[in-house]
Amino acid sequence: MTPALVRAAQRGDTMAMNDLLAELTPYLGRICGPIALDSGPDAVQEALIAIFRHLRDLREPEALHGWARAIAVREAVRIARRDGRSSPAELDGLPSPQDVERAVDIRDVLERLPPEHRAVLVLRDLEGLPEEAAARMLRVPSGTVKSRLHRARASFRRAWQG
């Protein structure tokens, strides 16, 4: 991605928007897929709509991917919640990276989690963000998230092994 492409898209050049969409779509698919699961294509579509509608608000073209990631995570959680395929109950376990690696089918692990926890996993394990940054992106206090994750990991492991 070049800043010139983003600026051209911001100016209303639809060929640049087309190119930007082609470049962003695989990345957004990797973010939205694990969070929204079967609703992943809907989530990518909604994320792209939000990204392009607000593209003029992006002041630093270099920040495109981080900015787009935040929008994609938010849209993926919203769409997953809307489609209601996950349990609305608060899950008391989140797998550790080792649990995720050991899982034969990661989708099976993800389906046991509410969308917000899938989002934490994606941001932490796939994107490599520290917990504090993930918490900021999810707009929840980092201390709360940190303690919740700590408890959740232990609980999940018990459930997973039990």
Partner: protein
């Protein structure tokens, strides 16, 4: 271990791009024919595009790159000429001139092929279309495309 990845088919891509363009309308229609048959017509810029797209009498491809980017010269029904930048690949066509915009997408569905179209007259200097008549024009374009596919050798 592999994480699930969400894919975006061309019709969804068209909806997303059109949503960012004020005044754009996305017409959609299922054509009861295989994708390859439909796209053989829909993606044929020089022979077929002018038979179903509004205001497009004749298109000539002037240059083409291996990645599907083309430059085409078009003449409208009213005699006006335009230079189009085109992104053409299977199931996807996005083209823009100074004054016009056309988007076309297709994907297989159980009943045949879902096609989607958007486009119209651009508002100068903005990613926006003059909204008058875009709905009727889009629906007409897809009706003509369906008729061309029905009449084409499969």
């Amino acid at each position: 271990m592999s994480w699930p990845v969400a894919d975006l088919d061309p019709v969804r891509r068209l909806r997303a791009l059109a949503a960012a363009i004020p005044g754009a309308y996305v017409a959609e229609r299922v054509i009861p024919a295989p994708f390859a048959t439909v796209w053989a017509v829909a993606g044929d810029l020089e022979k077929e595009f002018g038979t179903f797209e509004p205001d497009m009498r004749r298109l000539v491809v002037e240059s083409a790159r291996p990645d599907g980017r083309l430059v085409a010269r078009a003449r409208s029904r009213y005699g006006m000429r335009a230079r189009f930048d085109v992104d053409l690949r299977p199931g996807w066509c996005w083209m823009q001139s100074r004054f016009l915009l056309v988007g076309l997408a297709a994907r297989p569905v159980p009943e045949g092929t879902l096609v989607a179209q958007t486009g119209g007259v651009r508002v100068p200097g903005r990613a926006a279309l003059v909204p008058w008549g875009v709905r009727a024009a889009g629906d007409r374009a897809l009706a003509r495309l369906a008729a061309r596919v029905a009449g084409s050798p499969s």
